[in-house]
Subunit: 395 residues, 2 copies
């Protein structure tokens, strides 16, 4: 669907998440040149609020593009869409009864294009990269992000280069290749892949769409926060449990809630944000418990949940700040718990979750047991992707 | 979303597809007791047309449930929904240019719950089975249907029994099991699985949701026809190419077009319907070429496209009739063509298709070459599911 005309975007400029230095948004840019930290998109929220009213939503498209005013793409012909966002928020009645928390909801991201929430970030990053003149894109990926980037790049007609750990499951590699990406397997983890991708960026001028190393994947991910608010009739749950690798979704939702409040769509009441990681790779949990502002690299990261095998996150300080500001917490679960809770979710809801989604349920059950979550509280779990991509785990 | 109230369904009764004998719709029933052939749902289309107007759609839900008046479920609390239908119809510009047919569209069914078009039929069959009092469901499946049935049964809180060929890819088995289904592997093909499932039906009173052996999967599948019509502004394309195993979708779309015309939403113009099968299993193609009314069993069926490994279809006569009435055709493609055209579609569109989806593209290219499709004609291809379920094929 390409018609040549402007969107209603109210994007103003970019701003460093640490030093608040401002940058022109109409250039291909990665991070703050002073801090080497993430840039955040800022909008004219006063103007956006004029049209982005609760009443306006009944006639908007059933995708994340329904929030056009607070998304960065300037022209409609640059919107590269494959079916992303406006996913179901399930009230999981039988599951809730089984675990003793009747207001349990699951935000099921498995029906996005390429089967995961990564579609949200990449639809935005690729659309914007196209708009700003990029020709070739590169990404380091533990799995899902590579597939999503390959898909949106193919839809946009851009070349794509994906760098994956060499032990990444076969399915993730096949997905990228069949979508026309150039795939390089790297002897190491996601951060090593990032280093490798950087070489190509330097040598060939590829544009790097690593998460939080360009400004717009965050903008795609924040729509999860917009959708939860809208789907809960402009209120928010008591608790949101989020599986945290790079943490872009958690940071994005926190940003969304601020924007929504500034536009008068929600009150100042916030959910307690919970970060779930794997016991085999839990840098944010460790930093949270130590009261640190930044997280240090997790040595020997190992977990079957590829999306959680992220030993260091460039947005660590933003994640930790959101957890603390919200009165939230961080905890790690084992691979075995993820496997066990997959079937608990599956047979009680009809959703076959990724291990990362099952990790949220395991965390919820533990927090209920500890009394940190009360049985009457409303809790949103994130199933970040389809269990189909992890079928090999269950054989 | 369960509220206790009536839907706007205008379902009247069921009717045999061969002898037109009528049956009460408010009973759990499989096929015509005289002919052992499929029963078709009939509606009060005059009444449905009063509210199902082109103007009414802007405020309807973004799922197949937007066509509530012409769907069979009576009460809202029985609607078991996981996110099905209202999938994107992509205008595949770059692909169209590459193959010399600029009005090439892809109806991408991979974003349905469980990653395939099977969700459409099973949401309807399971919702209706729940409504009419079934407690346990059984299904023979070559792959995707089993996963979809397991998911909807789990969401409904019904027990499910899946019978699959023992050589079905691991991923399909895992999906059913993690969704709580009882899985039996059978030494044979889908028809042998059907025979095995029948034993349980007899012994334990399970309800059989084999395609076209109960009336409502067809009703779910027909929504593909409704959606194409709505997405093309109440016109239809010149050609629809459909990968045909059991053929329920093709028969369903043909039924949808009749209903739409009777309600005054479209004219009498119909697309030429094209059935694609595999050279390793092409009973409908053979019957079409021989001018036969029914198809005979294809011996030694073998193809990597599990959805096309259907040696005999109970709705064969309905498929063949639709092909002939529409001025359509039937052709078979090889497994190698499916593999080759997967990447052609992938790199030009961002859609990683199932082999069945790639088969449609292979067929389109051949029909363009033969002159059966003209370059200016509009063509809709069906990508019936996600290529992710077939990643093992590409290693």
């Amino acid at each position: 669907m390409t018609t040549d005309c402007s969107t209603t975007s109210t994007l103003l400029h970019l701003e460093c998440g640490i030093c608040s230095k401002k940058y022109d948004s109409e250039q291909l840019i990665n991070m703050c040149s002073d801090c080497s930290r993430p840039l955040l998109a800022r909008y004219d929220l006063k103007k956006a609020a004029e049209t982005l009213t609760a009443e306006s939503f009944s006639s908007r498209p059933p995708s994340l593009w329904r929030y056009e005013e607070v998304l960065p793409v300037r022209r409609k012909e640059n919107v590269i869409s494959l079916g992303e966002g406006w996913t179901k928020l399930h009230l999981a009645k039988r599951l809730g009864k089984e675990i003793g928390c009747e207001n349990t909801y699951i935000k099921d991201e498995s029906t996005n294009a390429t089967g995961s929430f990564k579609a949200r970030g990449l639809t935005m990053a690729v659309s914007r990269a196209l708009e700003l003149g990029a020709k070739e894109l590169s990404i380091p990926s533990a799995g899902n992000a590579g597939g999503a980037m390959s898909a949106y790049a193919a839809a946009a007609g851009l070349k794509s280069h994906v760098f994956m750990p060499k032990d990444v499951p076969m399915l993730f590699q096949v997905e990228c290749k069949e979508l026309g990406a150039d795939v390089t397997l790297v002897d190491g983890l996601i951060n090593d892949c990032g280093a490798k991708a950087k070489e190509g960026v330097k040598e060939f001028g590829w544009f790097d769409v690593s998460t939080l190393k360009e400004p717009y994947r965050l903008e795609g991910k924040k729509t999860m926060g917009y959708e939860i608010a809208e789907q809960m009739s402009w209120t928010l749950p008591d608790v949101i449990i989020y599986p945290t690798g790079g943490g872009t979704g958690l940071v994005g939702m926190w940003k969304a809630f601020s924007e929504l409040e500034e536009m008068g769509l929600i009150t100042s009441k916030r959910p307690r944000m919970v970060c779930v990681q794997s016991t085999g790779c839990a840098p944010i949990v460790r930093a949270f418990q130590e009261g640190a502002k930044h997280a240090t690299l997790w040595e020997g990261a190992a977990t079957l949940a590829d999306g959680l095998r992220v030993p260091v996150a460039v947005g660590d300080f933003l994640i930790l700040q959101a957890l603390r500001d919200s009165g939230g917490t961080a905890l790690a679960v084992t691979d075995q718990e993820m496997i066990d809770f997959t079937r608990v979710m599956g047979r009680n809801t009809g959703i076959f979750p990724a291990p990362e989604g099952a990790a949220c349920l395991a965390a919820q059950v533990r927090l209920l047991k500890d009394g940190w979550i009360k049985p009457h509280e409303s809790v949103v779990l994130f199933n970040t992707g389809s269990g189909l991509k992890y079928a090999h785990v269950y054989v």
